[in-house]
Chain length 324, copies 2
């Protein structure tokens, strides 16, 4: 569908119906949560019943902007009443987790920017060139004739800024800046938002950071840096897989390093490996593939049943040809 | 001077003269270096002789964008030949360090955004409302009729993005985003720039980070977090004062913390203290003033000749009234 078509369709369904459920994907991120909140705020303004139905609890860093919005965690035993379901930032129906049944038995919208989206909704609007669904939602709301207010702007800004890593990733485009400029007219507080979504940390994350730094080893004259965390180092911390995200960047970003490797023992005895390359010369997806993993030239990974020591040796063996 | 006036004056001096020196302030940051590089690139394009005269070595994180530019560290024994000197982001003549003599004996420009700038140049253009001198330089170059190319855009983008902490600080304004959108038309690589100026780190910084996390202590039920680094923990690391900047944010940004305190032993036996508050209730400048320091409500500091232990006790004593 074209932007004008989806805007007209959604406007018409909003006119005809009263009860809406908005769906972020499982393990919701800032783009999914921010868009749900922006759209929920709009539906509230025009006096519709709206809930955001989450698979898990909303991450605490987004809890500064959900005041007055009915955010519920899916409960199988509960009866939900609704006519229209809108999935945001959800590339695949399985990313709706246990909420698929609810979603599918209604008028369904699927608004997304993932290349792999297979158009599982009744109405689909997929723009793979968009930095974020926040970017899509901004233009969609404008096309629908929505007057974007402070709270909607805040949601959209969170969506765009988090999905671009704070305007740092490759997907940052001209529109991200143009939209942000326009959103500022609503009086959003960039510093407050940024403190919540980018700066806030907790002792658990800091301890993982500390262990990662502590365990850094340098190879091949500073060209390769590896760090690892053993299970016994984090088992007392009550961490989830998510908490390890980004730790590989600590080694990747050391001055002079070509390849950063982060290795973590899982509680089930498996070893999870993240590989990052800063140079075209080293394609880390090759190393991942050798170990039944996958990924891209500059970011790849695999899971192994070998010991951490063995895995590290194998990786260094694969990197030898570049540095010896 | 008004923007049009300074633009005309500078265009006229560029027409009449051939040798230019650009001055970033001592301990040059991204705004100063980025602006100097952008302006130097322009002067090169129109075939002028231009050098950037630094007080110290250019920080390595900006060395991805200085190719082809003559950047020199000031050498008292050297004779410099020039007609026009331009200080950028330099709020005070003393911030030119040992280069003041060179600067003053020419046609001098002073382009800045510091409130405290006392107009020490022959021609002064000070805009205190600007997020950065990068923002000023963008509009100035446009007013001068400059076609901003990729390299100039890169310098301006570095200036704006670093001075706003990557569009996160309070000074981030609508113009920052509008300018960034326009600069993207020149093909600047946001991801590459951001990796250099925001992500790059080194083992020395990581070790300071590690010690800071290791030494975190929590007070008043999680409302106050303090960390400290002893001299013996960093004396082997070859660090400068600059390397400690930002460490206080580790404690400030812990979820639930109102007040973050960072305490560091200096090699001369003094103790340097940084205080940060996240809440209006606690004005940390009061604590700083009690100890002959200063600052603002939410960011203050002092230096003490007492022992670290004594200093920490004094700070907690001052905070007691809020939390007991």
């Amino acid at each position: 569908m074209k932007l004008a078509e989806i805007a007209n369709q959604l406007n018409s369904d909003i006119k005809k119906n009263n009860r809406f459920i908005l769906f972020p994907h499982v393990m919701a991120d800032g783009d999914a949560v921010g868009c749900c909140i922006a759209l929920a705020k709009y539906l509230q303004v025009i006096k519709k019943d709206v809930i955001i139905l989450m698979e898990e609890k909303i991450p605490s860093v987004y809890m500064f902007m959900n005041e007055g919005i009915d955010i519920q965690i899916y409960d199988e035993s509960k009866k939900y009443e609704y006519e229209v379901c809108i999935a945001l930032d959800t590339g695949d129906i399985n990313r709706l987790g246990k909420r698929q049944g609810i979603y599918l038995s209604s008028i369904t919208y699927n608004i997304d920017h993932h290349k792999t989206n297979n158009e599982y909704g009744l109405y689909n609007y997929i723009d793979c060139d968009a930095s974020s669904v926040g970017e899509i939602l901004f233009y969609l709301m404008k096309q629908m004739g929505v007057r974007i207010d402070h709270d909607m702007a805040q949601g959209i800004y969170v969506a765009i800024s988090t999905d671009t890593g704070g305007f740092r990733y490759q997907n940052t485009n001209k529109k991200c800046f143009e939209i942000s400029a326009e959103l500022m007219d609503t009086g959003i507080d960039i510093q407050k938002i940024s403190e919540w979504v980018f700066e806030k940390t907790n002792l658990k994350k800091l301890r993982l950071y500390e262990s990662t730094i502590q365990n850094i080893k340098i190879y091949f004259n500073g060209k390769v840096a590896l760090s690892s965390i053993r299970y016994d180092e984090y088992k007392s911390l009550d961490v989830t897989d998510e908490d390890f995200e980004g730790l590989v960047n600590i080694v990747k970003n050391i001055d002079g390093v070509d390849v950063g490797v982060f290795v973590r023992d899982r509680d089930n005895g498996e070893v999870k490996v993240n590989l990052r390359s800063n140079v075209d010369m080293v394609d880390v997806s090759l190393i991942a593939c050798e170990n039944n993993g996958g990924g891209h030239t500059r970011a790849a990974g695999f899971v192994s049943t070998k010991s951490t020591g063995e895995v590290c040796k194998l990786i260094m063996k694969s990197l030898e040809k570049y540095y010896q």
